[in-house]
Symmetry: C2
Subunit: 198 residues, 2 copies
Amino acid sequence: MTAAPITFYYEFSSPYAYIASERIEEMAARHRRPLVWKPFLLGAIFKQTGAGPLTQIPLKADYSKRDIERTARLHDVPFTWPPRFPFLSVAAARIVYWAGEARAPDLTHAFFRAAFARGEDLHRSETVLAVAEAAGLDPAAAEAATRDPAIKARLADETDAAIQAGVCGAPFFIVDGEPFWGCDRMEMLDRWLETGGW
Amino acid sequence: MTAAPITFYYEFSSPYAYIASERIEEMAARHRRPLVWKPFLLGAIFKQTGAGPLTQIPLKADYSKRDIERTARLHDVPFTWPPRFPFLSVAAARIVYWAGEARAPDLTHAFFRAAFARGEDLHRSETVLAVAEAAGLDPAAAEAATRDPAIKARLADETDAAIQAGVCGAPFFIVDGEPFWGCDRMEMLDRWLETGGW
């Protein structure tokens, strides 16, 4: 019997989701849980919650920049700000769904690290395709995938499904029906997996 | 030489601030740091950030209720929802400033526990005054204090000062110039105090 998975919901433009992506595999492996990788579009959630990127909100902007950098240092995750932030992550997310589940972990790392470890501009489709090519994908096929109506619909459907599942921000984790929102809930997630909940 | 204090900013209607109030004294004592208690009005911050009570935001409402209850259980803090939430906390906050610094810790616990451990309705000034009386204050004098222009100005000034200091939510902590927002940053605050920062 396979243990129930941890579903990891993320938006490529979220620095906290990037930091989480560098930590979740170790945690899942330690608790012998499979991981399901679900990129989605945070903008669709902002439309419902009325929220927006933390770094654009008065008072919260300075704090959140500082907290993101401090959180990355705490977890020894290399971090830099991409030249454009937030950026439109739709091409990267579509390519992950097009490439399929088996490629999701390494493609996710490739896109996140391009943006937040090396400061590349994923807003530009040329950059997204260069990252995809470096990860072993055919760039022309990947480019076509970003315009494929079926792949577009898949990302829209996955985003709707995330919202239906209760996802209200990024990163977000669901395990055994229990939701955890935020890189700052990963210690709680860890304890939940350890204890079975409280 | 006295160590620099931890300044603890809180809003009486915040369940996370209540949970934090039950944990911060142990942490401050362990690190031999004095505590400065600063109630303020979160509504003034919501006006600038465009945010609002989590439990009134689509998608976030159900999650945040669950997370608040789960966080309280994790830390063995008794928790219940008051009959009205959020509630207007201005009378309680004014009474804390009127009573003075020496009374701030026990009055803060008295108001928070009335609301979130016993489910009393601090929106009603009769309830606020009953809590103040049970804590040893003269209820007639306390009632007059809530209408005293100097005390009103004091709370408004403290709220402005909190915003100037970078406070963007509740609970909020500042120590040695480093800001920490949220009950969920208390482990980071603890580590910061332990290590001197990173």
